[in-house]
């Protein structure tokens, strides 16, 4: 993963190879089914010839019996073959889905840059499904091919001329079908993109419903959606027209082909080189051929869609990482000393910082963009444009990002909560909820005053927080977020504005709780809140992207005017 050259082709070929045994089984059984289906018209011809035209009741009974045996065979081979086929499609889609999620969650990040979460989820469901369906389409192609082959053999046995016409005519038809589906493929891609955009806009407007209502801006939003919807409609109509003409052309071509077979067959029967029954079978076979040939057209369209989807999947899987990879593990034990030298990124303009181990350091900023950039660097979501960040003397770029995050946890201001109970959100994945681990969770909850949140909920810590924690208020969510950060007990903890939506009294208590809980471990609070800054050992002011004043909160308030303005709004 992450190899820049991964193409859509690689994605779908791998997806087929991963299910090759099922694909083979499905293809084989499906071909048996096609064989049966192809022989049905042959048997009809035999019945017409020997029983109807020959008026023989014994033959009628005999051949109807043979027909029955054939039906049982074709029915069962279809049942088992199609089951293997669908299973292969579903399993392939499942595998791709997990690969996409794996790429998005990859420690080096990058996959979600420039993509709506809804779009990515769509790639993981719809596009994965379409790529998986390539398996089924390929199998249907094999079946159709088997059908064509069986009819060709039957026809060759009847008449070499007719057999040759079928054998030579079919590839020409296929080639034409392929030619016709090319523009469809291009349009299908454009259409899918635009349709996805329309659905993205709708979901975005619904997500911002409260904001719209607050301004009475629903009308304007509806107007905007209508424009998007119309653009999407125009694209869809273009694509539908192309698809209709493709269907029509395939119909006309195959019909013409049948006429040709009827002409040659009729002449052969008239000059006596074929019996009447053979002619009926030949015509029946030619009609039957419509089926597999139409399937080819369908397979083509399906493969076109599958390829378009595979290209989108490949694009996600091949997204370059946001930060360079390092392999070094973090040296244990982590002392927790951070050093920044000449860091430039976003709002940071050559920052040198020394954050001593074991201390509670406050960082106040005059420009919020600086805070954001600092957090991105420390969490290794982006590497600085220039300069270096070191943990215990080792540059972060040399460290494995996942390992680093175990040592340095950046608790973002807008971090996500996940569907599930409050307790499940606060407790780390591998920790139990009882015993010493449970006690620790409790302590973290108390320190962040999240215990009060739990008390106010109908089922305490077992209460579900809803998707994205949306059933909690802003202040409640912040306290749960902080409790989670504390409970993770990282050697270095960086928290960003943990209390902005919390009332003043509670904020003061949280500041005390934070200090006490993190006693002796490196903790950095990026905030302009005086209540939090007041409990730190040391405060650094980032002024316009550079390090300004330093000292204790009380000293800075006394001596530094910029600091006073920034902090004491």
């Amino acid at each position: 993963m992450g190899a820049g050259e991964l193409s859509g082709r690689d994605v779908w070929t791998r997806s087929v190879k991963g299910q090759i045994r099922r694909v083979a089984l499905g293809s084989a059984l499906g071909s048996v089914h096609q064989l049966g289906e192809a022989l049905v018209p042959v048997l009809i011809g035999v019945v017409i010839d020997q029983a109807v035209a020959g008026q023989n009741a014994g033959y009628l009974a005999l051949w109807l019996g043979v027909l029955a045996v054939m039906y049982v065979t074709l029915s069962w081979s279809f049942r088992l073959g199609a089951k293997a086929g669908e299973r292969s499609a579903e399993e392939a889609a499942h595998t791709l889905r997990l690969a996409i999620v794996g790429r998005v969650l990859d420690a080096r990040g990058g996959a979600e840059e420039g993509r709506l979460p809804g779009e990515l989820a769509n790639v993981a469901t719809e596009d994965a499904k379409r790529v998986g369906a390539v398996n089924m389409a390929l199998m249907a192609g094999v079946w159709a091919f088997a059908g064509v082959a069986v009819s060709a053999v039957a026809l060759l046995l009847t008449s070499v001329t007719l057999g040759l016409i079928v054998l030579l005519g079919t590839p020409v038809l296929l080639w034409l079908g392929h030619l016709l589906s090319k523009p469809l493929e291009r349009r299908s891609e454009a259409e899918q993109d635009k349709a996805a955009h329309a659905s993205g806009v709708a979901a975005d407007l619904v997500a911002g419903l409260r904001v719209l209502k607050g301004l009475g801006a629903q009308g304007a939003a509806v107007e905007r959606y209508r424009r998007t919807s119309r653009i999407s409609l125009a694209a869809t109509l273009r694509s539908a027209r192309a698809e209709s003409w493709q269907t029509g052309l395939v119909l006309a071509l195959t019909g013409g082909f049948i006429a040709l077979i009827a002409l040659v067959g009729g002449r052969l029967a008239l000059n006596g080189s074929m019996t009447l029954g053979q002619l009926v079978s030949a015509v029946g076979l030619a009609l039957f051929l419509l089926g597999p040939l139409e399937t080819f057209a369908w397979v083509n369209a399906e493969l076109a869609q599958g390829r378009a989807s595979a290209a989108r999947v490949a694009e996600v899987l091949a997204t370059g990482p946001a930060v360079v990879d390092g392999d070094d593990p973090v040296a244990e034990p982590v002392r927790g000393e951070l050093r920044l030298r000449g860091v430039r990124l976003g709002g940071l303009d050559g920052v040198d910082l020394d954050l001593p181990a074991g201390q509670l350091t406050g960082i106040a900023v005059t420009d919020p963009a600086g805070a954001e950039a600092l957090l991105r660097c420390l969490g290794r979501e982006t590497d600085p444009e220039s300069g270096s960040v070191e943990l215990d003397g080792v540059p972060l770029t040399r460290l494995d990002p996942a390992g680093l995050r175990a040592a340095v946890l950046v608790a973002a201001h807008d971090a996500a909560l996940f569907e599930g109970s409050l307790a499940a959100n606060v407790t780390p994945e591998d920790a139990s909820q009882d015993g010493a681990a449970g006690l620790l969770t409790e302590r973290a909850m108390v320190a962040a005053r999240a215990d009060e949140v739990a008390d106010s909920l109908p089922h305490g810590t077992a209460t579900g927080v809803g998707e994205g924690g949306r059933s909690l208020s802003g202040g409640q969510r912040q306290r749960v977020l902080l409790a989670r950060a504390l409970r993770a007990e990282p050697p270095v903890l960086v928290v960003h504005d943990p209390t902005t939506a919390v009332d003043t009294v509670t904020e003061g208590r949280i500041a005390e709780g934070l200090r006490e809980f993190r006693q002796g471990r490196t903790t950095i609070v990026v905030t302009n809140s005086p209540a939090l800054l007041a409990v730190t050992d040391h405060v650094i002011l980032l002024d316009a992207g550079r390090v300004g004043a330093e000292g204790t909160h009380a000293d800075l308030v006394r001596t530094d005017a910029t600091y006073r303005t920034a902090v004491l709004a």
Binding site: T236, L276, A501
Partner: protein, 634 residues
């Protein structure tokens, strides 16, 4: 049989719920999934889902959508009928060739049927292409109108209605149901129409050959009908389960992907991968159960096929024996019957898709049919002429959950252009009060009066900016124009300048045209909040409610935002929910809310002197700002 493969491919994953008993919401709602599949309890567990339309109402809605395009519909279906009818000439023409051979006529006699066959192919191809184009134009246009109507109505739904249903309900309708109906319009419905036409016309053609062939062919019908009923009976509950699983999977993917940064920071990859795997797996297994059911369905259809085919052949034998049919006619009949296999199977399989689309459609129409909010007397015009209005609350009480009141009997008056700050600890009911004044909720008892009218969501009377930051995806200018669609770029720049955002906006890669929001340029929370205030300025409501609008943004930008808010409030009647007490001190009056009641009401100085809750809060707040810097000029 090609339709076998296509039918299998035709979405096995979704099924319809048309039966009334199966549209019980609980069965299919993704919103309820969490309660069913995990042992947690939603804080607000009693959800009331948005309505689903009855089958009759759904049909009526479809008729309404198609009505403007009756001509198009007639032309489209006319062409499809023509295409099918022309296609049915193939079998008699082939039968004619058989007769020519039986009668040993000259090879020249073959010319006519062969040329006719080629002509049939050409005409069928062209009419099919034209017919399908028209039919898809018909369907797509109606679909576009439906989704527009849906979004229009969805955005005007009362907020408490949406919240009671859970945001997932509306979201799944706007994405999943719309795409399900779209799929049907694109694929299933035209196919279904074509198949139905083929079946009807082929049976007619059989009857034309000899009515006894039709009788023989109909022997298969009871088996097919029974099979279809058996299938629907088993498929509906199975697919309902499958839909829940698919919904859960989608929700999990959104949860995981949306929170990817957090997952990385806390190294939660293992657990999230596990959950995604489990949910995807369970969706896969349910899909496979559906496949098995479908395959059993096909086995039964094969039996029906065999019965009908044998009957037609035996009939041919008997009719030729008593001389009432030629061998060519018997051949044509057998070929007709064989050509029915495809359309019959297609139609039966697509019934399933059609049902699924119908269920989606019912959920869309259900929302479209919600009554449009009543726009009370247009107080807007009156008040804008007379300057900002006053706001009066009389005996207002409110509860989200019966028995758990959030506000008790609140009386409050805000005079024109007065700025009132609302203070209280978390959970005191401040946000609820703000929403009531903004008209997002209706109070359960009591009355709210803004310039002589009750505030409602549609009005431009009261503007609300909350701590919820949402940047609309798209160019930044378009985000702002949501508040005033006809605003000139100059007006946008002015609004941005007033809230102190013009500087950074112009520094963006493409200035006002920079794509922001999800998938675009990431804005920091306080910048997003500045945008929200700029929108407020553009919307220009006479009354403004700020609900901790400068809180979520983070402390670092708070001062800037306070200034921006200051600008946005100028000259308007304002209610400001504040916890940074500088905002309270700057207000004309302070209201302290506790446990849903107004406990203190007065100016900043009055309340400080009163030594009550506000005074206590003030001391806590100003202490953290150290002794030397007691309140400067606020």
């Amino acid at each position: 049989m090609t339709t076998g493969a296509e039918g299998m491919e035709a979405e096995l994953t979704e099924a319809g719920l048309v039966d009334a008993e199966l549209t019980e919401p609980g069965l299919v709602e993704p919103g309820l999934v969490d309660a069913e599949l995990t042992d947690t309890h939603e804080a607000d567990s009693d959800r009331t889902l948005l309505p689903t339309a009855t089958p009759a109402r759904t049909r009526a809605a479809v008729r309404e959508l198609l009505r403007p395009q009756r001509g198009l519909a007639a032309a489209g279906f006319g062409l499809m009928v023509l295409a099918t009818a022309v296609g049915l000439l193939t079998q008699p023409l082939l039968g004619h060739i058989v007769d020519i051979v039986t009668e040993h006529r000259s090879p020249d006699a073959l010319t006519f049927p062969v040329v006719a066959l080629a002509g049939v192919a050409l005409v069928q191809g062209v009419t099919t292409a034209l017919g399908m184009s028209l039919v898809s134009r018909l369907g797509e246009t109606a679909l576009a109108r439906l989704r527009e109507l849906f979004v229009e109505r969805a955005l005007s739904l009362p907020l408490d209605r949406v919240e009671k249903a859970g945001s997932g309900d509306l979201n799944s309708r706007v994405t999943r149901d719309v795409s399900r109906v779209a799929d049907a319009v694109r694929g299933a419905l035209p196919e279904l129409a074509r198949s139905a036409l083929s079946i009807v016309l082929t049976l007619g053609a059989l009857a034309l050959l000899d009515w006894r062939f039709l009788i023989a062919a109909l022997i298969a019908v009871p088996v097919q009908a029974h099979t279809a009923r058996w299938y629907v009976r088993n498929a509906v509950p199975l697919y309902a389960k499958e839909r829940i699983a698919t919904g859960t999977q989608q929700q999990q993917l959104l949860d995981t992907i949306g929170g990817a940064r957090t997952v990385r920071a806390y190294r939660l990859q293992k657990g999230h991968t596990l959950r995604v795997t489990e949910r995807s797996r369970s969706a896969v297994e349910l899909t496979m159960s559906g496949v098995q059911l479908m395959l059993r369905f096909y086995s039964r259809l094969h039996i029906a096929e065999y019965m009908g085919l044998s009957a037609v052949l035996v009939t041919g034998y008997l009719l030729v024996r008593d001389g009432s049919a030629s061998v060519g006619t018997a051949t044509a009949a057998a070929l007709y019957f064989a050509s029915l296999f495809g359309p019959v199977n297609t139609a039966l399989v697509l019934l399933d898709d059609a049902q699924s689309a119908t269920a989606g459609l019912a959920r869309l129409v259900g929302v479209v049919d919600e009554p449009a909010p009543v726009v009370a007397d247009r107080a807007d015009d009156r008040t804008t002429a007379a300057g900002p209005p006053s706001v009066t609350l009389t005996g207002v009480s409110h509860a989200y959950v019966p028995g758990r009141p959030v506000l008790h009997d609140v009386d409050l008056e805000i005079r024109p252009k007065e700025r009132v700050a609302l203070v209280g600890t978390t959970g005191a009911g401040k946000t609820t009060l703000a929403k009531l004044v903004a008209g997002l909720h209706r109070p359960q008892s009591g009355r709210i009066d803004v310039g002589g009218a009750e505030p409602d969501e549609a009005g431009h009377l009261v503007g609300l900016v909350t701590q919820e930051v949402h940047v609309f995806a798209g160019p930044l200018a378009e985000d702002l124009r949501l508040a005033r669609p006809d605003a000139h770029t100059e007006e946008l720049r002015e609004a941005l300048d007033t809230v102190g955002a013009l500087g950074w906006v112009e520094a963006l890669p493409e200035g006002l045209d920079t794509v922001v929001g999800d998938g675009g340029h990431r804005l920091t929370a306080d910048r997003a909040q500045q945008l929200a205030l700029a929108r407020l300025l553009l919307a220009d409501p006479p009354v403004v409610v700020l609900d901790e609008a400068t809180a979520e943004a983070g402390s670092s930008g708070a001062r800037q935002l306070d200034e921006a808010a200051e600008q946005a409030l100028r000259g308007r009647t304002a209610l400001v929910v504040a916890h940074r007490l500088s905002q309270a001190a700057a207000a004309d009056r302070v209201i302290v809310l506790s446990g849903g009641r107004v406990v203190e009401n007065g100016t900043h100085d009055e309340l400080l002197t009163a030594q009550g809750q506000y005074a206590a809060l003030w001391h806590a707040w100003s202490d953290s700002r150290s002794a030397e810097t007691a309140p400067e000029a606020h």
